[in-house]
C-alpha cells in the first residue's frame, strides 16, 4: 500500500504552503485593497468601487454561465433590470401597497432573479449557441419594454426611486462594505462551485460535451442550477444597483452595459474566477480615467473583444498563469503501472454482459448498422474490426446511448438499457474513450480525469457552494482517485499540467484514466492505439489486458491488427454494418473472407 501511494504524494509535494500562497496572493491583495479603501476617505472612489462590486456580483454568476458553461448569454443585463425594479418597487410599496423592508426587498430580488434566470436559461438546454444568444438579447429588450409599459409597478419611463438601506449598511461607507461583503461572498461561492465537480462538469460541457455526457453529466439539470445561481446573483446586484443609483429608469439598463459585463468576463478568461473579476474592475474603472475617449468606449470594448477572441482566447487568466509557461520535460515516456489497477477496482462485481440483438440503424438511406448481434462479457477483451464505414464507431455510439437504433435490442444482463440518454450510461459503469480525444484543454490533466468521477460525488450543489464537509470529502476522494488513475496509466507527473500541452499519445492515456474513474464494468475504447508508437501500443495492450482481468468487459475498436490479435479474447469483424465473422483471434486469423479482404495475408 505504501509503495503505491508514495509516488503520488511525492508529486504533490512542491504544491505545499508556498504553492498555496502563490495561488492566493492576488486574492489577499484584492481583499485588503477593498477593506482599506475607505481609509482614503474619497467617496468618489467609493462610488466607483461600489459600482465595480455590484457589477461583479452579477458578473460572478454570469461568469459561471459564460466562462464555465460556455453559454453565450449576451442579454444578462435583464437580470440587473429585474432585480433593480423588484427591490425598488417592493421597498416603495408599489406592489400590494405594503412597503417592504429594503433588506427583505433585496432578498426578493434574488429570488426573482433566480426564477427568471431559469426561464431565460431554458432555451439553452435545447437550442444551439447562436439561438440562445438571440433569445437572451430578445429577453433583455422585452424586460425593458415591460418596465416602460407597467407603470403602476415600475413607474414606466419616469422610473422609481431606489431604496436607502438602513443601518448598518446606510449610504456611504456602510453601503460600501455591504457591497464589498456581498461581492466577496459571490466570489467565494462561485469559486467554490468553479473548483467543485460541478464547475469541472460545466467546463466539460463547454469544451467536450460528448465526453461530459459519457461521464454521466446531465447537461439540463446542471445548467438549471447554474442559471438559478447566476440569476439570483444578478437579481441581488440589481437590488444594490437601485440603491446606488438612487433612482432607476429603463434607460439606465443599456445594451452597452450588457456587453460590458460580457466582455469583462471574456477579457478575464474563460474558466477562471480571478481573471473575470479583474476584467470587470478594469471595465468599470477605466472609463472614469479615460474621459476623452468616453465617446469611443463601446467601440474600444468591441475592439478589445475581437482581439481577445482572435489573439488571446485565454484572456487575463492566461497571462497570469505563469505556472503553465514553465517548459515541460522533453522526450517524456508513458509507463503505465497496471499493477495499481487492483487499488482502483476495490469492489469486485459479479459477471455480467452487454448484448446487442439484431440492432439496425439507418441514416437516411444509408444502413450504418444492419442487423448486428454482439455480446461483451465481463473479464474479456472483445475486438471490433472492419474497414472504414463498416459501422464500428456507430456500434460504439449505440451502446453508449448517442444513437437510437431503428430496431433491435440493447440489454445489460437481460434488462433493456435506456436509449438516447448517453449521460445515463455512467451509472451503469459503462465508460468510453473517443476516436479524437475529447478534453478540456484549459484544465489540468488532473481535473480532466476528475471529470470522469463526477457521478461518485455525494455532496449537493448547495454543499459545494458553501464548501461544507461533505463537499470537501468528495473533493479529497475524487482527487485521490484521479491521482491513482493517473499513476496507473503513467501520467501522474503531468497531473498539474494543462491538458492542451500534452502530446497526442498522452491524451489517449489520459482518456483511459478518465474512464477508469468510473471503475467501469464495461469499457468502450475507440481506436486507442491510433497515433501511438509501437512501444506505446505494446504498453497500452498490456494495460487493456490488465483492466479486463479486473473483471471489466472491454470493447476495443481498432485498426492495429497486431494489437487486436495480441490481447483480444474474441473478435467480431464488421462489413457494411453486418457481422462478417466472429470468434476467437485464432478463428478469425484463419477465416478465409476476412484474410482475403482485410488481413491481406
Amino acid at each position: 500500500m505504501t509503495d503505491a501511494t508514495s509516488p503520488i504524494s511525492a508529486s504533490k509535494a512542491p504544491a505545499g504552503l508556498l504553492g498555496r500562497l502563490e495561488g492566493s496572493w492576488s486574492w489577499i491583495a484584492l481583499g485588503l485593497a477593498g477593506l482599506l479603501l475607505p481609509l482614503l476617505d474619497d467617496s468618489y472612489f467609493g462610488v466607483i468601487a461600489q459600482r465595480a462590486y455590484i457589477y461583479w456580483i452579477l458578473g460572478a454568476g454570469l461568469n459561471l454561465v459564460v466562462g464555465y458553461a460556455g453559454q453565450i448569454a449576451i442579454g444578462w443585463v435583464a437580470m440587473l433590470t429585474l432585480g433593480a425594479y423588484t427591490t425598488a418597487a417592493l421597498a416603495a410599496g408599489r406592489v400590494g401597497g405594503v412597503e417592504w423592508h429594503p433588506y427583505l426587498a433585496l432578498i426578493a430580488s434574488g429570488v426573482m432573479g433566480a426564477v427568471f434566470g431559469v426561464i431565460v436559461g431554458l432555451p439553452a438546454l435545447r437550442l444551439r449557441t447562436f439561438y440562445f444568444a438571440m433569445t437572451t438579447l430578445g429577453f433583455a429588450t422585452i424586460v425593458t419594454q415591460v418596465a416602460l409599459a407597467w407603470k403602476d409597478v415600475t413607474g414606466g419611463g419616469v422610473g422609481t426611486p431606489g431604496p436607502v438601506f438602513p443601518w448598518p449598511f446606510d449610504p456611504g461607507w456602510g453601503f460600501y462594505y455591504f457591497c464589498f461583503i456581498l461581492a466577496a461572498l459571490a466570489t467565494w461561492i462561485t469559486s467554490n462551485i468553479g473548483s467543485s465537480r460541478y464547475g469541472r462538469a460545466l467546463v466539460a460541457i463547454r469544451d467536450a460535451e460528448v465526453a461530459a455526457e459519457a461521464s454521466g453529466i446531465a447537461k439540463p439539470k446542471l445548467l438549471i442550477l447554474i442559471f438559478l445561481l447566476a440569476g439570483g446573483l444578478g437579481g441581488v446586484a440589481g437590488g444594490l444597483f437601485s440603491s446606488l443609483q438612487s433612482y432607476i429608469t429603463p434607460d439606465a439598463f443599456t445594451f452597452e452595459m450588457s456587453v460590458l459585463f460580457f466582455i469583462g468576463i471574456l477579457i478575464g478568461g474563460r474558466g477562471s474566477i480571478l481573471g473575470p473579476l479583474l476584467g470587470t474592475i478594469i471595465l468599470t474603472v477605466l472609463p472614469e480615467f479615460a474621459a476623452p475617449l468616453v465617446q469611443w468606449s463601446t467601440f474600444l470594448y468591441a475592439a478589445l473583444l475581437l482581439v481577445i477572441v482572435l489573439v488571446i482566447p485565454g484572456g487575463i487568466a492566461d497571462l497570469l498563469d505563469y505556472k503553465n509557461r514553465r517548459p515541460l520535460e522533453q522526450h517524456r515516456e508513458i509507463v503505465p503501472r497496471p499493477e495499481l489497477l487492483s487499488r482502483i477496482f476495490d469492489v469486485k462485481s459479479g459477471p455480467s454482459a452487454i448484448t446487442l440483438a439484431n440492432i439496425a440503424l439507418h441514416f437516411g438511406g444509408v444502413r450504418a448498422i444492419d442487423g448486428l448481434d454482439l455480446e461483451i462479457r465481463s473479464g474479456e477483451v472483445h475486438g471490433l474490426i472492419g474497414p472504414n464505414g463498416s459501422g464500428k464507431t456507430t456500434t460504439l455510439n449505440v451502446i453508449s446511448g448517442y444513437y437510437r437504433p431503428n430496431s433491435g435490442q440493447l440489454k445489460l444482463n437481460g434488462a433493456e438499457l435506456p436509449i438516447n440518454k448517453p449521460y445515463a450510461r455512467a451509472a451503469y459503469r459503462i465508460a468510453r474513450t473517443f476516436q479524437t480525444p475529447r478534453l478540456v484543454g484549459g484544465a489540468s490533466v488532473l481535473e480532466n480525469v476528475m471529470i470522469g468521477g463526477t457521478i461518485d460525488g455525494s455532496g449537493t450543489f448547495a454543499e459545494s457552494m458553501l464548501s461544507l464537509p461533505r463537499h470537501r470529502r468528495d473533493e479529497k476522494r475524487l482527487n485521490e482517485a484521479a491521482m491513482r488513475a493517473l499513476a496507473t496509466v503513467g501520467l501522474e507527473s503531468l497531473a498539474d499540467v494543462r491538458a492542451d500541452r500534452l502530446q497526442h499519445s498522452e491524451l489517449r492515456f489520459m482518456e483511459i484514466a478518465r474512464a477508469l474513474m468510473l471503475r467501469p464494468a464495461f469499457l468502450l475504447l475507440d481506436e486507442p492505439a491510433a497515433g501511438l508508437s509501437a512501444e506505446e501500443i505494446r504498453r497500452l495492450g498490456a494495460l487493456i489486458k490488465a483492466i479486463s482481468r479486473e473483471g471489466t468487459g472491454v470493447l476495443l475498436v481498432e485498426h492495429h491488427a497486431d494489437l487486436i490479435f495480441d490481447i483480444c479474447d474474441r473478435v467480431t469483424v464488421l462489413n457494411l454494418g453486418k457481422t462478417l465473422a466472429a470468434g476467437t483471434p485464432a478463428e478469425i486469423r484463419s477465416h478465409r473472407e476476412v484474410v482475403s479482404a482485410y488481413l491481406g495475408a
Partner: protein, 397 residues
C-alpha cells in the same frame, strides 16, 4: 468683513481635510476660483439639447471671468459629460460633490440622469440649479437646495393645453408620446389637466419611437374624432413621422406639442416642407418673435451671440439662452451670498423677478420652481429663423 471670514473658515476646513489625506495644505488665496459642477449630456442619443445649452453656459462663464470674475474670483466650470447615461451621472455626482467640493451644480439636462443625480446631490448638501423640466426634481422638503430655472413639465403641458383648448377652441384631442420617461410622464400628467379644462381626450397611447409606420396610430386618432394631435417626445424621427403621416393622409388637424417639433432635425426628416404647416411647438415668450421682432433682452442677446460668432442655425435660441441665464444666475448668487450652501439657499429663496433672457425668475422658500406660467407659449415651427420662432397665431404680442 463677513465674506473674508467665511473664506478663512472654508480655507481652514480644506486644509484640515488635506492634512488628513496627507497632502501639503495649499495656500488658499482670495482669488481661489469658485468651482461649479456641470453635468451636460454632450454625447449619446439625446444630446442636442445639451449641446445647445452648453454654448450658452460656456459663453456666460467666459464673459463673467473676462470681466474679472466674482469679487476677484473666477468661476471654474468642472464639466462631466454624462453621455445621456444615468450611471455616468451618478459617478460624476460623487466626483463633483465629494472630491471637487463644488459650490453649486448645474444640470443634468436629461430626465433619467437628473432623477438619479438629484437625491445624491441633496444628500451631500450641494445647492443645485435645474434646467430639466421633470416636476419631481423640485421638492422643498426632500431637496431643499434644488432650484429650477426652467419651466416644469406641468407648465409646459399647461401652455400647450391652453393653446389647444382656449385659443384654438378645440375640444377633442389625441395625446400621444414615445415610450421614454419624459414622454410617458408627460402624457400621464397632461391628460388629466386637459380633462380638467373641459377637453375630451379621445385617444392616448405610448408608442415605440422606433416604430417606422405611424399610420395605424393616426388612423385610430382620426376614427376617434380627434381635432388636434398633441405629441410628447424629444425624438425628432418620431415627431417627423407624425407630421409626414398626417401630411400623406391629407388630414388637416393641428399638431401641438414638444419643442423638438420645431428642431432642425425634425425639419430634415420631413418628406415635404409643407408638412410643417399647422405645427405648433412649445416656446417661451421672451425668445419668440412678436410681429417680427424679438423682445429687447433677447434682441440684445442675439447681437452678443453674433458678435461672439456663436452658431445658432443648428440649435435653438432658448437652449443657448437657458445656458447663458444659468451662468449669470450662479454668478449673481455667488456675488450676493458667497459660496456657503446655507447662505446660497437663503439668498436664492429671496430672488424675485430676476430678468433673464430666457425667462423671469422668482423663487420663494416654499416654491423653488421659478419660471412664470405666462411666459410659456406656443410658436409656429415653420417660422424658424436664427433659432427662434414666431408666436403662434392667437397670442397677443
Amino acid at each position: 468683513m463677513p465674506i473674508s471670514r467665511r473664506q478663512v473658515l472654508a480655507g481652514s476646513a480644506v486644509s484640515a481635510a488635506a492634512l488628513v489625506q496627507g497632502f501639503p495644505a495649499p495656500a488658499i488665496a482670495q482669488n481661489e476660483p469658485i468651482k461649479v459642477g456641470y453635468l451636460p449630456a454632450l454625447t449619446g442619443p439625446s444630446s442636442s439639447t445639451g449641446v445647445g445649452i452648453n454654448r450658452g453656459v460656456q459663453l456666460g462663464v467666459e464673459v463673467i471671468n473676462s470681466a474679472g470674475g466674482i469679487n476677484g474670483r473666477k468661476i471654474e466650470l468642472i464639466s462631466r459629460d454624462t453621455q445621456s447615461d444615468p450611471t455616468k451621472a451618478v459617478n460624476a455626482v460623487a466626483e463633483l460633490t465629494q472630491r471637487q467640493k463644488v459650490s453649486m451644480i448645474f444640470g443634468p439636462v436629461n430626465s433619467g440622469e437628473a432623477l438619479a443625480a438629484t437625491p445624491l446631490i441633496a444628500r451631500d448638501k450641494v445647492p443645485m440649479l435645474h434646467p430639466c423640466w421633470v416636476d419631481e426634481l423640485i421638492d422643498v422638503k426632500k431637496y431643499p437646495m434644488a432650484y429650477r430655472i426652467a419651466p416644469t413639465n406641468t407648465q409646459v403641458g399647461g401652455g400647450a393645453n391652453y393653446y389647444v383648448v382656449d385659443v384654438l377652441k378645440l375640444k377633442k384631442v389625441a395625446v400621444i408620446s414615445d415610450t421614454t420617461g419624459y414622454g410617458t410622464a408627460s402624457v400621464n400628467t397632461y391628460v388629466p389637466m386637459l380633462k380638467a379644462k373641459g377637453a375630451e381626450v379621445v385617444y392616448t397611447n405610448h408608442i415605440d419611437a422606433a416604430n417606422p409606420d405611424l399610420k395605424p396610430e393616426l388612423l385610430r386618432m382620426q376614427a376617434a374624432g380627434a381635432q388636434a394631435i398633441m405629441p410628447w417626445s424629444v425624438n425628432a424621427g418620431f415627431l417627423s413621422r407624425i407630421c409626414n403621416t398626417r401630411g400623406a393622409m391629407g388630414w388637416d388637424v393641428p399638431i401641438v406639442g414638444q419643442t423638438t417639433l420645431g428642431s432642425g432635425q425634425t425639419k430634415a426628416l420631413l418628406e415635404k416642407p409643407e408638412y410643417w404647416n399647422k405645427v405648433y411647438s412649445n416656446n417661451f415668450r421672451q425668445v419668440c418673435y412678436a410681429n417680427g421682432k424679438l423682445p429687447p433682452r433677447a434682441q440684445e442677446f442675439v447681437e452678443r451671440l453674433k458678435k461672439s460668432k456663436i452658431e445658432m442655425g443648428d440649435t435653438l435660441l432658448w437652449w443657448i439662452a437657458l445656458g447663458w441665464d444659468s451662468a449669470q444666475m450662479m454668478a449673481n448668487v455667488f456675488k450676493g451670498a458667497g459660496t456657503k450652501n446655507d447662505d446660497i439657499v437663503a439668498y436664492m429663496n429671496k430672488i424675485k423677478a430676476w430678468p433673464g433672457v430666457y425667462g423671469t425668475v422668482t423663487w420663494t422658500p416654499e416654491q423653488h420652481n421659478g419660471f412664470p406660467d405666462s411666459e410659456v407659449v406656443m410658436c409656429e415651427v415653420n417660422s424658424l429663423k436664427d433659432g427662434a420662432f414666431n408666436l403662434a397665431p392667437g397670442y397677443s404680442a
